[in-house]
């Protein structure tokens, strides 16, 4: 196309990169304002991390499908071991934790599990002969793959991540062709079991989060504070927002976690409904691209993997936005590309990297099985 640009650079998925850059820059602007007009402590680090992880994603995009296939199960096992390690250190050191300190960097294994489970489940249905997809043999390995990670993450306890892990895996199972009645029946079962789970499975603080989600105004200074203040921030922004650097909810600390989980409220207060729509449109483009990658992929693994990764990012966005707008209980899930935080950004950029890799190497028809 353009002779002056070297081929390797010209071949980069520029449209996708540009989209990500726009969102991360928006995040930079919002975090800059949230810090009262300062690059520290959030905005500068945010954009630096993004650029580093973008470079990582571009490197990942050079890898081919076979590499992802080959590491799918080993990575899964390593991450499970890391989760166990977190639990053990927590048990020895006293008090639960989510981090694993590897000296130079701190890693949150539950974040990595979100990617690992996608690779492992996609790989499993890739290996499963088509004839068995409607048998018990297509179900129990899935449950086995989910059992340990879910148990370990729930122990932390981290309900939000557990939901993302389960939802990602089930989406792949759905796309892989498990009988529809399982999902319909499962949906009905959840509707029945959810109240039971609420009373018997959830921790006290999780129960409270659910009740305050259902009625945040009942306890505006206690557990409902997050949701109330978040809605005040979004609602007071109106259509065009209060303007850059003019958000009072965030600047005067009324909005808790305004730079992490509730960054959307910080944004909406200053940029209003227009900012929200712009961001939703960006995410729409991202997921259209993600699902497009899955549909264009030629091999079964890359199809399932691409769809699973895209849906994982989607769950981040959907659960976070529903929480911020008072449609879901407060579970600690950040908003991709905007929230400040290294672990989740790494996870998301790994997803993006693998998606770009599949986009670049759609594979050949018929190469899926055998």
């Amino acid at each position: 196309m353009n002779d002056f640009v070297p081929a390797p650079i010209a071949q980069l998925p520029w449209r996708t990169i540009l989209l990500l850059l726009v969102m991360a820059s928006f995040g930079f602007v919002v975090l800059y304002s949230a810090a009262g007009g300062s690059l520290t402590p959030w905005a500068g680090l945010h954009i630096t991390r993004f650029l580093v992880f973008l470079a990582m994603a571009i490197i990942l995009s050079r890898l081919k499908e076979n590499f992802w296939k080959s590491i799918a199960f080993p990575v899964y096992i390593v991450v499970v071991i890391m989760l166990l390690g977190v639990e053990l250190i927590g048990a020895v050191g006293g008090g639960s934790q989510r981090w694993l300190n590897l000296g130079l960097i701190r890693i949150q294994p539950s974040e990595l599990m979100k990617v690992a489970i996608i690779l492992a489940v996609a790989r499993f249905y890739d290996l499963l002969p088509p004839s068995q997809i409607r048998t018990w043999g297509a179900i129990w390995p899935l449950l086995l793959l989910l059992a340990l990670p879910c148990a370990l993450v729930l122990l932390q306890p981290d309900l939000g991540t557990t939901i993302t892990i389960v939802a990602g895996a089930l989406t792949i199972a759905f796309l892989a062709g498990l009988p529809m009645r399982l999902f319909v029946g499962g949906g009905i079962a959840i509707a029945i079991l959810a109240p039971l789970a609420y009373f018997f499975a959830l921790e006290d603080y999780q129960q409270r989060r659910v009740t305050t989600f259902l009625n945040p105004e009942n306890d505006p200074l206690g557990a409902g504070y997050h949701i109330s203040q978040s809605k005040i921030a979004i609602g007071s922004g109106g259509i065009f927002g209060k303007g850059f650097m003019n958000g009072t909810q965030s600047h005067l600390d009324y909005l808790p976690e305004g730079h992490t989980d509730f960054v959307f409220a910080t944004m909406a207060e200053e940029w209003g409904l227009m900012g929200g729509f712009a961001l939703l449109f960006c995410f729409f483009l991202l997921f259209r691209w993600g699902l497009g990658v899955a549909l264009r992929a030629k091999t079964r693994f890359s199809q399932l993997c691409a769809a699973g990764l895209s849906i994982t990012i989607f769950f981040y966005v959907a659960i976070n936005l529903m929480m911020v707008m008072g449609l879901a209980p407060v579970v600690g899930i950040p908003l991709p590309f905007l929230s400040h935080g290294g672990s989740s950004m790494m996870t998301i950029m790994i997803c993006v990297g693998i998606l770009m890799s599949i986009d670049r190497h759609p594979g050949r028809q018929g190469g899926a099985f055998g």
């Binding site: 088509p130 005067l252 699902l291």
Partner: protein
Amino acid sequence: MKTPKTISSAMQAMTFSRRATIVGGLQIGIGVLLAGRMTYISVAENERYKLLSESNRVNLTLVPPRRGWLIDRNGKPIANNKTDFRVDIIPDRLEDKEKTIATLAGLLSLDQEEINRINRELEQAKSFQPVQVATGLEWEDYAAVSVRLPDLPGVSPRQGFSRNYPTGAAIGHLVGYVGIPSSEDYKDNPDPILITPGYRLGKDGLEKTFEDRLQGKPGAKRVEVTARGKIVRELSSRPDVPGKALQLTLDIDLQEYAARRLGPESGSVVVMDCKTGDILTMTSMPSFDPNSFSDGIGVSEYGMLREDDHVPLLDKSLKSLFPPGSTVKPMVALAFLEAGLDPDESVTCRGSLRVGNRAFRCWKRGGHGRVDMAKGIYQSCDVYFYHFAQRIGMNPIALMANRLGLGQKFPIPVPSQFYGTIPDPQWKMKKFGKAWQAYDTVNSTIGQGYMLVNPFQLAVMTARIATGKEIMPHLLLNDERKPAKLLNLDPEHLAYVHQAMRDVVNGPGTAGRAKLPVDNVELSGKTGTAQVVNLDFGRGGSDVAWKFRDHGLFVCYAPFDNPRYAASVVIEHGGGSGSAYPVARDVLTYLYDREKAMNMLTAMEKSWGGTISERMDRKLAAYRDKAELEKALSEGRAEAPTTADSEAASSAAGE
């Protein structure tokens, strides 16, 4: 398909794209839901959330309004607002607590008790609630803290207003006082201003009656605060609207003079303008200092006021009832005249008169000899009145008393007034179920027996006798006035009584010493000595215990020929009218020659031990010492030393 159960890769690929479309559709669905939700929050509920965001951001601090002034007839302040310098600590901004408090303690000379209180309150207060260090500071102390502010983060010297009564105790009973709203006040009217520090409500007297007018509207200071209550900046503020001033008919200088002139006595002075009914002075002593109440009165000061047998908390002008004694004789004489008694008709006084089986004494044991009406008044002969009262009967006397204001309640803006008793046969039957007797009439004609009045009524009575008009008292200078109605008394009768009253002071009467030391102004008056108990051992003079002594009374007006001022002076247990008329003389002198009156007062105050506030301070100090001593005794030793000698006691307590 031959075998529907076998699924090929191609079929799986089809399933995938079909189901991927479903997933995509669900994603779009959720996206639309989120967009809709956000639109709802930020458009439909925008107003509500905007308001909530503002109420988060803006902290409204109410500023107590300045109360309206009370001013006297000449515009001199009776109650105003004093700039109050105070120092508070904002715990949030405090850096080094110990050092800051130590510095403040040095600058403001705080005692250990205060420092303990500050430390305690600092621990309890929320971070943004100011903790009071000191109020009512002198400008010098305030300035000393202000210049050191850079070294004292978290310390906030502020300027507010507190109620101030320049004449202190002299005006106590009439103006009342202001105080912190009670929890009942807040329950009745849950206005946040009521729980704002520094806000005061009228609790008694005029401050209470005119609360609505004096109150004013609070100002508001709007500040932007963070979620933790830290003040970011000040926003626009609304100034307070001070309450409206209220002009009274009082002459505050005269009021103060009268209060001082009463000296150590317990009593009342009321001075009225005979022409307008304006109350120029309504003094009751001893009194309390309303300034002490406004700042929150101390336990020991209140205890002292409550335990004092001179009852400083009681307004003696309106709420103390006294037998009027002989001060009613001009009134009774008017009743006699109206009933047709010839004033020249006389009786011989031999010192007592037998009524029924009891001898009623005249105050003059030796008797007055021949007494007509004029002599009956100026010599205050009791026998004259005993004699003719039996002929005229009680009813005309009681009617005249009521016409002249005794037993009446007046429409003046005070929370309460006691109206006393003017007895008559119906009243006695109703009250005691007993028939009226001749001796009841006899008792009443000399203002004893059942008859009880307050000093204010005596002043009104005097004004009415002096003018012959139904003078109504006024306390507000600019209230609605109606011209006083005539009392329909025969001018000749009035003239007769006036002349007799003139002779009380300027003729052969009982109060020669009450003569005004002012050229061309003659005082007319009537003395009164009211017995408290029937004393078998003699008269209630200064030789018996204070509470058995006779009350001393004096009513008067001046000038005699063109009455301008009417006054009543009552000295509780003063030992006789001799305690009252010198006070009346000096107070009226003050109206004509302030310098001369002040000179007389200064000399007297020296012998009493200083001005009112000096004497009250000394009394309070003594009271505190005594209370402390008693406390030490009860704590230190089970058995008190038998000698009440304070030195012995304190050394015993010190062991």
